[in-house]
Symmetry: C2
Subunit: 313 residues, 2 copies
């Protein structure tokens, strides 16, 4: 039986019809309307179109699962707040129920991505996994016994907002020295720029055409692979930050797998192998600790749709 | 129906007969034999005595629950290693089964203490709680939906071995800058001594009779209550370390309650109120986050016996 997955982003909303094997049979994407009522109306119309185009009806699907950034209460079905769109207290499940008489569930985007990876992706067949999504920020997801763990009012799993450096860099969350300040793509870009400013002979300058504004999350990794010393130093330091953050999670959860997702995960084996090496050197956080698999997320850009569909699976 | 709780410590082993309300009806304590076989034989004899003294038999009790420090695999019933006694691979459940035909379970001591607090103690009637036991080290316990969460091979919940200060003080676990290095009683004693060395006029010197070797986990707290400036600085810094460590756990788990146990918890409301104040100032870790109750463990020295008994409840 099919499910519908909805992936709400600040820029675009993606909708997909997903089968029981986690395959997307049909998907569409449209610009996110900043007005929450209009955005939700659009989601409803797009779902109706999708059902019509596939000669199916709402009675023939298991339900609608939604992934959304920000603070989302999965029990009440309310988006408590979504900073990038200035949405607050949006009763999205209730609003969509007016259109569709089916099971409708919502969770945070990093949560559903983790759930998708455990059910259909990199950690398929495993029971427990922790995930970092490394992008603008560091999102976190916790799956225990194949179920999402979200904490009270779904406000846990903020794994990126745990201390790595006490009294360190100012974080957007209000605290200081969070993992997000050191291990996000944003942080890596900042670290790359700082290193370039101090090393004018680094080949990273050639890669960005001499314009530091062109630096992105790939700059240091690409130059490192080509042997640039400064770039390798940036990557090694970044791996250290990320590796220590992962070890913290291993000591807390001792999961079967730790998954790296988000833009930075595109660095693939080059990054994953360095992280495995870091974890091995540190005994996976503790003497004789079981070796946790360090995996790269495999659902890629479809993680949002597929993961969301699992909520109503 | 009664259960038996066994609390194994490096110095002594405590055994108690616990009723279905978490009340200890009878308890005994004896010195821990460094030889594991002999220690386990002693546990068996003491349990037999306890049953006889109470005119009951092994058939009349629900089972035997054991709490033990170190790395304990609750699934296999094996003490993987207990550093303070140099025990390794001790099949304690199997060995005790040779004496008793009943349900026998084991878990780590901080785990069972947390379980005891949720079922019978400070967090009674709540479903989820995270606990720090602040003693020589910092133990951690995770209870979700009234059940212990231990991770693979029961090697998770090492909450004291998460980074507070990247590349900070050397920790006994092999890593650096762990919570344990800043928030344990051992760390507080070190912090107190350092402050005293730098402030010869502090009243803490009077409290310890001029001998710095008399400093313990209470020294700074007692002098702080009496208004000593240096002692207050030590306490404030310690609360900052501990408070930030707690906020990390709140952002990860967003539990209903966070419990402070171990020797340091004897500081009671003076400490708890400072921790609540720290958490409130920091929005409990995140904007609009639910307020987690910060509680002092109430089972005290009996936490080990009572918590262990819950394993077979």
């Amino acid at each position: 039986m099919y499910s519908i997955g909805v992936d709400i982003g600040a820029m675009s909303i993606k909708i997909g019809l997903v089968d029981e094997y986690g395959k997307i049979l049909y998907k569409s994407s449209f610009k996110t309307n900043k007005n929450p009522k209009k955005a939700i109306d659009s989601i409803a119309y797009q779902i109706k179109d999708l059902l019509k185009d596939n000669n199916t009806s709402i009675q023939d699907i298991k339900g609608i699962g939604i992934g959304c950034p920000g603070a989302v209460n999965s029990k009440t079905g309310v988006i408590d707040f979504l900073p990038n769109l200035d949405w607050e207290n949006i009763e999205i499940v209730k609003m969509l129920k007016e259109y569709f008489d089916t099971d409708i569930k919502i969770s945070n985007d990093a949560n559903v991505a983790t759930l998708g990876e455990v059910v259909y992706g990199s950690a398929k067949n495993l029971n427990s996994a922790i995930m970092f999504t490394l992008g603008t920020g560091v999102g976190g997801g916790i799956v225990i016994d194949k179920k999402l763990f979200e904490g009270e009012q779904s406000r846990g799993a903020e794994l990126g907002h745990t201390t790595l450096v006490l009294d360190g860099e100012q974080c957007s969350c209000g605290r200081k020295g969070c993992v997000e300040c050191y291990a996000s793509a944003t942080a890596l870009i900042k670290q790359t720029k700082n290193a370039m400013e101090q090393n004018k002979s680094s080949k990273m300058w050639d890669l960005v055409g001499g314009d530091i504004n062109n630096v992105d999350g790939k700059t240091a990794f690409e130059s490192a692979k080509q042997g640039d010393k400064t770039a390798n130093e940036v990557v090694d330091k970044y791996v250290y930050y990320l590796g220590e953050s992962i070890l913290n999670m291993l000591n807390i959860f001792r999961p079967e797998a730790f998954i790296i997702g988000g833009g930075i995960s595109n660095e693939g084996d080059f990054l994953i192998n360095k992280l495995i090496s870091h974890c091995e050197k540190q005994n996976y956080g503790y003497k004789d600790a079981p070796k946790t698999q360090i995996l790269r997320a495999t659902l890629g850009n479809d993680a949002g749709i597929i993961g969301a569909s699992v909520l109503v699976r």
